[in-house]
Symmetry: C2
Subunit: 155 residues, 2 copies
DNA sequence: TCTATTTAGTTGCATTTGTGACGATCTTTT
DNA sequence: AAAAGATCGTCACAAATGCAACTAAATAGA
């Protein structure tokens, strides 16, 4: 007999080859690198950054809408909004038609920070792509797109 | 003038196109799906699962080694080990040469759970690849490999 | 050998996160 | 128009996480 595998051997799982693990680790590494930029420069947390980015992108939104667009839980958004409000980076306005809702909008200072951070984000991504090489970048985007198509629709 | 962009327009960052965000979201979605399996079936947390998987893969390891292999902080490992010990899924053995170190090893029950979970993990990955299609799966793996090569070495 | 430094693992404390309940408001049903 | 239900955002509480200090043990330096 040549290379027949040991009978009892279930293919042992190799954690560092397991896709969910690899994805998590990569996501954490890549995010962390960028996070340290906005943390060092502005002391922002990730929820705060996401909130800022979402408002910068869309103008005025409700807290619920921010959560929907940036995949964050209600309470995370609520706390991030509070914190950005403390910095005077955003203002709240009650909706007159529906007074439960508040419209959140960046202030001048908020927009300025957003401009800066958006530029940093853009640069970060550009450098990342450069390091991955044209091929790696293309594969990464394609792989992510495939994943998104998978989990976007229900099952 | 035709389609010249608005002069003032900084390319606004589109969060859902931003790679760190996309990676995080994808990793969370994909991990969560599998996590709910071991959570529902065994009530395991993610650190516990990783610890179990690492021990299942390597046999006996120290807590430090588990952390190194599964990218977890000391304290996470410590708590996961404690919890798995409570379930009688692992045993500790002091190293005689270096009595600070403990060698952690799965019990019979621990190995049995591991076998089951490793199979589930394998099946999950197989199904994931099937849904991604041959092409998507290939691109995902290549993209991850590129990322890993990038952040593995220093900068 | 005695001291200083490093390492393994745990624990207390502070911070972050998620869960559930809540008041307020709007919508739907009857 | 009254009651029942849903939605918006917040808060109190519990669970998970990270950080720093700690004990115990090993190693290195004097």
């Amino acid at each position: 007999m040549t290379g027949k595998q040991n009978e009892a051997a279930m293919p042992p799982l190799v954690l560092e080859d397991f896709i969910p693990y690899r994805l998590n680790k990569a996501a954490e590494a890549i995010s962390q690198r960028f996070a340290s930029q906005y943390r060092d420069e502005y002391g922002l947390t990730r929820p705060e950054w996401r909130t800022l980015a979402t408002l910068g992108q869309f103008g005025a939104l409700s807290a619920t809408a921010i959560g929907a667009h940036s995949s964050m839980h209600k309470t995370k958004v609520s706390r991030a909004v509070f914190s950005l409000e403390q910095r005077h980076w955003l203002k709240r306005k009650r909706d007159d038609a529906d007074r439960r809702t508040e419209h959140l909008e960046l202030t001048q200072a908020g927009r300025k920070a957003y401009q800066h951070l958006a530029t940093m984000a853009h640069d970060y991504e550009t450098e990342l792509f450069a390091r991955l090489g044209e091929r790696g970048a293309k594969e990464l985007k394609a792989g992510l797109a495939a994943l998104e198509a998978y989990y976007r629709q229900g099952r």
